[in-house]
Every structure is written in C-alpha cells, then in structure tokens.
Symmetry: C2
Subunit: 343 residues, 2 copies
DNA sequence: AATCTTTTATAAAGCGCTTACATAAATTTC
DNA sequence: GAAATTTATGTAAGCGCTTTATAAAAGATT
C-alpha cells in the first residue's frame, strides 16, 4: 500500500509538502498542490489514520455508549449520530452495554482508556461512581443525552415534565381514573431515566387533587408484549377500570392499544391512551404522545459535541456540568378524547 | 496522562519489559510482571491505541457496514456483533449507509481507505463495481452477511429457499390462493437481497402447478404500516381475496395480521399469514415464520471473521469467494392453518 | 544591483508504542 | 566449577505520519 513517501516521490516534492497539500493547509503553491493531488489519486493514497492520530493526538472518532441498540429509541439515535458524524469526517465507535456486567466493566476499564475516541456521547446510561471516575480520567469531553451525566454536559428532555404534560392532557380532557405503565426500579445500573416520567405523572395527579388507585400504577418492561399483558390485567375487571392510560413510552402505548382492541373495546371511546416519544409507528396507531424528536435531538447533541471539540480554547473542552433541557411538545392524535362517562 | 515510560520508571524496569509484561508475553519474570502490573494500575495506564496500531499494524477494530440501523434485523445484528467483538477485545466502528448517496460515497472513498479497521463485516449491502474495487484494494478480510459479496466470503441464508419453504408450508396446508408481499426492485444500490424470497415463492407455486393472480404479488416497503395498507387493498374485495399471505419479512406479516383483524376477519381462520425472520415480536403475534436466528447468525459470522484474522497463514486471510449457507427452519405457530374453504 | 520581505519547500524531530537484536543473569550440563 | 544453555532485561530502530525550525526561491523596496 502506498505511503506518504511514495506520493512525495511521484509528485517530486517532500513528504511535508504532501502532508500540507492534502490537509488543505497554507504555504503550498497551486502547482505543487495539483501535482500532489494527482499523485495521491494515482496511487489511491489515504493517510494512515493511526499515524495521523499519533502525530496529532486527534482521533476523529467519537465513542457512543448506550445500554441497548436493538430498541427503537437507541437505534434511531445511533443512526442519526452516525450520519452526522460521517458528514463531518468522524468515525463512530459503538460501545453497547447490553452484554452484561462483565462486558460493561470491560468497556469502562479496558476500552475507554485506550484513548481511541476524542469524545463520548453517552445515551441514557447511568454510570456508577467508579465508571464516572473512569470517564473523568479520560480528560475528554463527555456529553450525556437521554439523561444527565454527573459532572458532564448533557442535552436531555425533562422526563418529569414530559410525564406531567401527558397526564395533564388526560386530566384536561376530564379523565380522573388514569393508569400508568412505568418502569422497573431495580438496581442503580438498571435504573431507567424514563422512570422519572412516572414521577411527573404522579405530580400532575396530585395537583389536580386526584387520588390514584394503587393498582393503576403498574411496572412494565417498556415493550409491546409487556404492556399488552399488563393491560389485559388492568382492564380485566370493568367495574374497576381506568378511563385512560399514560404510558412512559410509545411502545408500551402501542401494546395498550392492541390489548384494548383485543378486548373488544375502542380507543379512545372506551379508553384514552397517551405515550411519550413519538415513535416511528405512533402516527400509524393514531397515538397521542409527547414528541421528543429523537432524530433532531441526536443531531443537535452530536453537533454540539463537535463544536466543543473544534473549540480552540482548551478551557471550553474541559468538562463542566451544563445541562441543556431539550424542549418537547404535546402531539395530540386520535388516541385521546373525553371519557365516555362524562358525556 | 501516563505513558509507558512513566510505568517503566515506577516499576524500575525498561519500557520493553513493560510492554511485554502487559501484553502477557513470555520472557518476563514473575517478579517483574507484578511490579509492572502494580505500577500500571497505580497510574491508570492503558497503552495508547494509535501507537499500538502504528507499531504492530493491528487495529483490533472491525468495521461494520449496513444500509440501516433503525430496523430490527440490522439493530439486532449490530448489537450481537458488538457484544461478540468486545468480548474478544475488539472495537466496532459503524458505517451506516442510510445517509444517502453522498454519504455512501464518502464512506467508501474516504473512510474505508484509512486503514482503520482490520476487517469488514458487510451486512446486506450490495456494493457497486467501484465499491467492490475499494473493498478489494483494502487488502483486508471482508465477510458478507445477510447476502453475498462478490469476491469475498459470506455467511447468509438462502433467501430463495426460505421463500420457497414458507410457500410450500402454505401449499401443504391446502392453500392455492396465496398472495405475496415483497420488495421494491429499484436501482441496483437499493436492491434488497430479501427480494429473492419472492422468487422462491414463485418457484414453489410453479412446482405445485398454481397460477398466481398477478394482483396478489404486491410490492411493499418491508414496514408494518406499508403491509397494513397493502392488505386492506388486497382483502378489499372478498370475492377475489387470497386465503393466505406470504410476507418477505415478519414485520410485514405483523402488518398483515393487524389489517386482517381490523377488517373483522381472523387469523388463521380467514387468512393464513407467514413471514420470514423470527422477529422478536413474532412469538407475541403467534406468527408462523422461517426462523433465521439472527443473533446466532451474527455471532457465528463475527467469530468466523475473528478466526480468519487470527490465522497465522497470510494466505487464509486473503479473500476468497467462499459462501457458507446459513441453515433456516420452518417455525409453525398459530398464524397458519388449513384454508376454511377446504373444510 | 543589493537588501529586505514574503512565500514556498525541506530536513528532521517527535508522537508512544512494539520488537529484533544485544547483553546480562540464572540455570543446567558435563 | 567452567562451559553451554536457557531465560530475563535492556537498547534502539522502526511504524507513517505532522509540524517546527530552517533554508531556498521569489518579489518588493531602496
């Protein structure tokens, strides 16, 4: 494979000139630049990335760390981040935490320390104290998205407010009997940022003076089947059924809609359903939701990180806690309406 | 940040010993190894990856190139590949082609040439002649999965056989009126390997002596909503409706099931439905399908690539065309049954 | 024509590791 | 116990680029 010396020889200049010409820098005559470009093209030369990195200290590579990749929210985030990064000349190295504790440890201990990435995009991960320490030791910008990261910047929607917004919509329609499908509250590492949406929900109920039936606050695994079976359970006894369900995610809301239909009931006539996310399938299901514009969010975060990286001022690149709240909005479709009992 | 010299100084040995000790190589005394390990731990030292790469020529990094990431098949492949790679000490760099033609060109022209990856896992991509050329010039192992790659190894199921298998199942149940939801056949770059499943379907019909109503061979975009609306169309006229639908993917099959229910009909009593994939949601929908065990497939391919990379014989690492067929099997659940008209 | 600027090109010094080769220490063999 | 062998350690030469200091060429100024 051709190296910089081959190009220099063919173009009849020094390697320094080749380097400058190809990097688009000053102090290269037009004539030399053309010769170099022609030679590089002829040899199919592309500068070795590791040599570039070793010489400059720059990787042009961003690490993305997320707890799953085969879920809509994460896959969508990832796809948008990748496109944005490629467009700006950056590679994306994926670190996926779904492989269990040992793998998670390996990623934090061995991989992140290798100085292979210029910065880190951390999507909805909840690092432990040790992991936080590793992150800080990296001395590289870290940007949290989909949830805050201690001691680092973050861009995330306010899960509490989003949950409150959704529930307030239901209340404003006249619903008083409102169920919630939320998340597990297991170990710290498993803690899901989205669980805060339930807190917002509860706050909205409290402000409206509504006392909730404890059976209507259900834990669920954020999947369609999970929500489906929970709903069957929830609506099993018609005398004690809610008139509306707020789900912490659209995927669960879709499961709820399916279950309602399966029971021979109708959405929104018999049960109103609202979720959070604006999932790609939500429009199809006519689901009312809180739109968190995942793609724009991912793009904005990625661009922000790139700006931080480009900043000449090293002080700016030092991490500081600087949370930016990503605005969300209610998106009313056809899955929510006034409760029938009110009519 | 600590470098190898710092560790050497602290441990009271030379950098060569540090390198050998940390790489777990021979010719290091137990005493020295322990001193080095202690020093490395104290300083939080991890070898710089670019220096390692420059010195050894190895990246310990695999490129994964795929047309989408926010679809179940691809996201699942990706997640499994990542876990498998991390487990074996490799990073994963993602190249996603969904960003359009310009981005695709950029990836092939600029990124792949950077010698940043040791090998490439190409998931269901159909490279053009030029792109194939780039791939070959890389002089790195390439393994196709989810579809063959010219001049390279591949591990993939036989889409033709899978389509045939699914349709034969329907025929063996007594169905003669069978529709198919398949893919677009647009430009070469957009060509979807999964479209071959339709060819297998047609072959099965032909062998059974069935002449298909041309209106029952429908193009569809491999999504749930797409299949939903196609099905409404297909079953709109009951006098001219098929008794079974074979879908090139489970996602479409799910859309079909929803549409059938929405029309007040039942699966499988009124319409049998079968797909291909064994999507995570297929069990929930009771969908009969051709199981292609995506996770095992991804893991097998990744391990194979790693073995090729580990092989001392450089001849083995040279690419050759060596297609391995991934076996699939029929998985009958409750969405297929004998046609009612036969009873 | 001689001097001073400005522009363009080069030589060479790293970047932080690995590893072949050289050397020293420990072990075995006669 | 000396020679031969094995094992441990160190020295230094790369790996393939970028970039700083330096020199050469070209232009501008007297």
């Amino acid at each position: 494979m051709a190296g910089i010396e081959d190009v220099a020889k063919l173009a009849g200049v020094s390697t320094a000139t080749v380097s400058r010409a190809l990097a688009g820098k000053d102090h290269v005559s037009e004539r030399a630049r053309q010769k170099v470009e022609a030679a590089a093209a002829e040899l199919g030369y592309v500068a070795s990335h590791s040599a570039y990195t070793l010489a400059t200290g720059r990787n042009r590579n961003i690490g993305v760390i997320m707890p799953y990749v085969d879920r809509w929210f994460f896959a969508t985030m990832l796809e948008t981040m990748e496109s944005t990064l490629i467009e700006h000349g950056y590679d994306l190295t994926l670190y996926n935490l779904s492989g269990g504790k040992m793998q998670r440890d390996k990623i934090f201990k061995d991989f992140l320390g290798r100085k292979r990435v210029d910065a880190l995009l951390s999507v909805a991960v909840n690092p432990s104290a040790d992991e936080l320490d590793t992150l800080n030791r990296l001395q590289r910008p870290v940007l949290g998205i989909g949830g805050p990261i201690q001691g680092a910047r973050s861009l995330a929607m306010n899960d509490f407010s989003a949950g409150k917004l959704a529930t307030e919509h239901l209340i404003s329609l006249g619903h008083r009997k409102i169920a919630n499908l939320g998340g597990y509250t297991g170990s710290d590492l498993e803690f899901n940022q989205a669980n805060f949406r339930t807190l917002g929900h509860l706050d909205a109920l409290k402000e409206a003076g509504i006392t909730q039936n404890p059976a209507w606050k259900m834990e669920c695994d954020y999947t369609i089947p999970g929500a489906f079976f929970r709903t069957k359970q929830l609506l099993g006894d018609p005398r004690n059924a809610p008139t509306a369900v707020f789900c912490n995610s659209d995927e669960m809301a879709i499961g709820v809609i399916m279950a309602v239909k399966d029971l021979g009931l109708q959405v929104p006539q018999d049960v109103s359903v609202i979720g959070i996310d604006n999932h790609d399938l939500s429009e199809f299901f006519g689901l009312s939701t809180v739109n968190q514009r995942v793609r724009e969010q991912a793009k904005t975060a990625t661009m922000w990180l790139l700006e931080i990286l480009d900043d000449a001022d090293p002080d700016v690149r030092v991490n500081r806690h600087e949370s930016v709240e990503w605005p969300v909005s209610l998106l009313v479709r056809s899955s929510t309406a006034r409760p029938a009992t009110e009519a």
